[in-house]
């Protein structure tokens, strides 16, 4: 499969004859990055799959009017992030899950999840992450696991670089304190 740049993919998408082909290439290029980003937010594979489909549906509808004032991947990340946050908000409202329940909820989910192969320390890390507010968890995931630059993160989350650095710093302190408790 030919390796196209984002600009080329967008140009192909705007041509009716190559629209479907271009979209297919975009999905293949970014699916894994976006999937793991979503998965770390929502936890289960089934939920991540739902959010992924919703994300790419929005991309399909919105790509025509994408103004290219940001990079394609930051725009895709932004759509995926918003979909994941919306999903989490709806889930908490629907099932009346409070933040206090998150820790035991995550523990139970990880124990029964066939698509989790992490060791005990990774389980503990996920339990600790569940204690963080969603946006702080997001910042931590994007910096720690995905190694996204603060400038790109600022575009994705529409937050200043300073605020993101502070958020990450606090997140690390909370997690270290929790992980060292035992």
């Amino acid at each position: 499969m030919a390796d196209y740049s984002d600009k080329e993919l967008l140009a192909l998408f705007r041509d009716d004859e190559s629209k479907n082909y271009s979209f297919n290439l975009i999905v293949r290029k970014y699916q894994e990055r976006l999937y793991w980003h979503i998965r770390k937010m929502v936890g289960s594979h089934e939920d991540a799959d739902d959010v992924m489909q919703n994300t790419f549906l929005k991309v399909w509808k919105g790509l025509e009017s994408f103004r290219e004032d940001s990079q394609l991947y930051t725009w895709l990340y932004r759509v995926a992030t918003n979909e994941a946050l919306t999903f989490l908000k709806k889930k908490k409202t629907r099932y009346f899950i409070s933040t206090d329940d998150d820790e035991s909820h995550v523990q139970n989910k990880l124990e029964s999840d066939v698509y989790f192969e992490g060791d005990e320390l990774e389980k503990k890390l996920h339990k600790a992450l569940a204690k963080l507010p969603d946006k702080q968890k997001l910042v931590f995931n994007m910096k720690y696991f995905d190694n996204i630059k603060y400038e790109d993160m600022s575009e994705i989350l529409d937050t200043s670089v300073g605020a993101l650095k502070a958020s990450y710093h606090h997140a690390v302190k909370k997690l270290e304190k929790y992980l060292l408790e035992d």
């Binding site: 999905v27 699916q31 894994e32 770390k40 489909q53 790419f56 320390l121």
Partner: protein
Amino acid sequence: MRKFDNIEDLKRDTRAGYTVPDGYFENLPMRIQQRCIDEQKSSFTEVVKVGILSIIKPYLLMGSFMITLLIGIYTVNTFLIPSDQMIVTPALSENGSYKIEDMMSQFNESDLTAFVDEAELVNAVNENYSGEAVEFLIDENIDYSTLIEECK
């Protein structure tokens, strides 16, 4: 469990211990493409439905209002007005005018006098009838319907 001193010690794997079913990423683009096509079809159908509905809705409302009105008139006419009080169109005579007897038989004295107040009635009697004729009617205690019967 692995020893933990610093969060930087942990393995920085973007998957963070999570996995996916076999072949998930191979099949995902096709599933997403199909979902986009289905979504496009259902949104087109919705647009057509909404479009047609918005055009015919006012006519449907007008039609149902008219039907309700007609049913109401028919119901009132059939069930609520007693048959002896229903207005029946008198039959036409041979020369095209209505038969006076048919017309008069639909009304009783009280119906007629209800439309005329006492002063008008007295004036009409005074103008159109001789005093003798009126006195005769009163003395003989003849009522109006009896008079009509005798005229037939």
